[in-house]
Symmetry: C4
Subunit: 267 residues, 4 copies
């Protein structure tokens, strides 16, 4: 039994051990996740009944496989922390980020069988299936490399978010007061004005809401120009982050000794 | 008396002394500022009379608290510069940036009691309450970290603002002359054309004003492409600023010795 | 014969040998490519019949010249890899990227003579002529300098494309569910919602599709603000790439000696 | 006479010699340039006749002053290159960039007195007055600091312009072929499609032209996402430029000697 457990643990873990079984297992799960995402998207089209039934079949098969995967992961999770009591190790694993994603991504399927839910809740539950997309991050380092830069610069990025929030609140309240009398329906309250502020500061500019008074246009121009600064700040922060990361990688690669006399050139 | 003053001074100052009272005082003020911002925003909705009265109550309580805070700050401000005469130290404090914000943020409340004002002035006075949002910067370093980069690079950023202004003036006058005959209502004067120039250079593009003639489209295309450069310049400047800041922080961490005599080169 | 072959090989190759013939050959080909691009663009206008016939004449002449060029390049290509058997060397050349471009750019002209094609296919075949624009990259280093940075940072750029794809899928499915009941015609399925997600995340914002519900606007605001981060990440990566490239070029210029023994550390 | 010439030369030159006269002269010219720009902008509004006459008066006074300034600059320009014959030195100055701007900015005023011109030409001549704005660059270093980075990176920036041109041509021809049958009036030829390509690649997105077919939307999405890369490349280049400039300035400032033993730490 213990041998089987260790075997499953090794095959199922994220770090590919290079064996064929482990590779097949990973590929199948990635394929299943992609199929799931495709059906979630396809579900938004008016699909004929037989296709809908086929989608439901896929859903049932997926949930069964993901459930087995989840149970196996929890069962073998005591091997991650061998020094802890098995139930403690498992409890820790269950409350880890990826395990929670795994659970929440399958749970909505079971809910309608346990408690009666109305259609709107059912619809919301189906969206939760989208969380399965994050399961794919187990098999790629894409999110982690970019995520590292965001973590490194989180304090500065938070600061820029705070500045954006300040700018948005101030500009939307001013804009509401300036434009409300000219366009009472469009700039009906600070929320509308905030919607305008988002569209302007991010330079999306859908064109559903914009100032028509001279004062409003002048204020809007100033805010739009500040919007450029808004893009510049996080870009600058993230650039600095990528450059810092690059410098660190380079320092690790470089030889720090003079090849002629053997002196350490570092300090 | 003096002991009480020193006590208040220590609790009220921005640099948290770690005591529970100081923490509670700070948290309460931040909460009050947030409540104030929320009511300013909520005020723009058609609130029923009782809610409006409740908002007025909040306003009265806020002004009372902020007024007491202001008086205490001014009273204890002679302790900041102990070498100056108290009235000189206080005068200096009163004209400091943050103290002026504090004063202007509460003053509008008192004005209608002192002199009769009409409704439009009253409305403008209410917007000034928004300045209270800057009081929050006492309790966060967010603005200062980003602000430092802007100060460091202010000369170059000013240059890019100057270039933008040049580009906007030139392109708007040209565009007015090109498009005015085809769209006399939209491109009615250089101000309209400048509004177009802002929307184009910042890439907001609301869609309320755009060229329809072939010459206008060609000029617009050139200006829109220059608009990319417009974003690139401040972004480049700010990136360089963040990287410079990062390098400086790093240099302070590194141990640096002269490779010839072994002396520490830091101090 | 062999002498003639070597002579043509030297004149026709991309690396200009400085002779007048080679320069004339290069200039003529660049001019011909530009003429071709101009006719492809001019073809989209309603040109009168005689002009259309003139364009066809240009096309025939171009294809003849490009065909001769292609044949000469293939014929002389065995001189690139003199150690291989001539047919092997030629086969390798034929399947090289630039040779494939050369072939595909002329092939569509011959197809209608070989097999009967309907009008729609004919139209598509004419677009393929656009590939001739890439022939121009033989005579410029523009694409290669920028391309080098993209190759250097391909892993990180791929990661950011993956993150964008994730964000687009998630936001479009959520947005479809939020807006579909309010705007069944505009947000008719996940594809429409994805079109909205592209317009928002890239900050293009045509204005043909945007949320009108409160929930939709809040979600849209969050996604638009994330869109700024979206621009910031590749910009940061590419900035780091250009700086890395710059540093490498600089290191080659600098003289670098070991401060302990004076040895040159470069080689 | 020669003494007067040297005196004027010293006062009129761009490098302020610190004397009061030179300062007044500079301030007056900057003020006059600003007044000129304001009248050019104000001219686009429907100004009543008396104001128009006043503007004409300003124009006459400005041209007289700028003409005198031009003559004085040319007259004293032989002092810049004392080794050359006076007429050679003056000829060189006349064909320098700033002198040409000075001349072209006043010339249009005299043309209607010399040869009869119709109204349209007159209008175009009035726009040329805008060139006077560049005279202001004599009194600011704003343009030169940013210009230096563009000159430093001109090769790479040219490359990115070339790539943009390629992308625009290819995407507009493809888009014309895809959308023309669905929207024959909007995507009427490759020029319209190129206008769309500019609006999309620069992310301006006015909303006057956008794809409606599924194929068009998919292609548009790909091009819009490439548009992000389009912003990223010049931003990355310019960032690298500003950082390079910063590094160079820093190296000049740093002391390159060990303060304890006097060893040069540079190489």
């Amino acid at each position: 039994m213990n041998k089987l457990k260790t075997y499953i643990f090794e095959k199922i873990r994220d770090d590919n051990d290079g064996s064929l079984i482990s590779k097949i297992f990973d590929s199948l799960l990635v394929a299943l996740i992609i199929v799931n995402i495709v059906t979630v998207i396809a579900d938004t089209f008016n699909v004929p009944a037989p296709v809908g039934e086929f989608f439901y079949l896929i859903e049932v098969v997926s949930v069964v496989i993901f459930s087995i995967e989840y149970i196996l992961r929890v069962w073998t999770s005591d091997l991650i922390r061998p020094k802890l009591a098995p139930w403690k190790a498992r409890l820790r694993y269950v409350f880890s980020f990826m395990a929670l994603i795994d659970l929440i991504a399958i749970l909505p399927f079971y809910i309608p069988f346990l408690i009666p839910v109305d259609l709107r809740v059912l619809r919301a539950l189906r969206i939760i299936r989208l969380l399965r997309i994050f399961k794919i991050s187990r098999y790629t380092t894409a999110l982690s490399t970019i995520g590292a830069v965001f973590v490194l610069k989180r304090a500065q990025l938070m600061s820029s978010v705070f500045v954006v929030a300040l700018l948005m609140i101030i500009s939307s309240v001013i804009m509401y007061n300036v434009e409300n009398s000219a366009q009472p329906d469009t700039f009906s309250n600070a929320f509308s004005a905030m919607w305008w502020a988002v569209a302007t500061l991010t330079t999306v500019g859908y064109g559903d809401i914009y100032p028509i008074t001279v004062a409003g246009k002048i204020i809007s121009a100033i805010i739009a120009l500040l919007g450029i600064g808004l893009v510049a700040v996080p870009t600058g922060i993230i650039s600095a982050g990528f450059i810092e990361q690059m410098d660190e990688n380079k320092q690790h690669d470089e030889k720090c000794f003079c090849p002629y006399c053997g002196h350490n050139l570092e300090n």
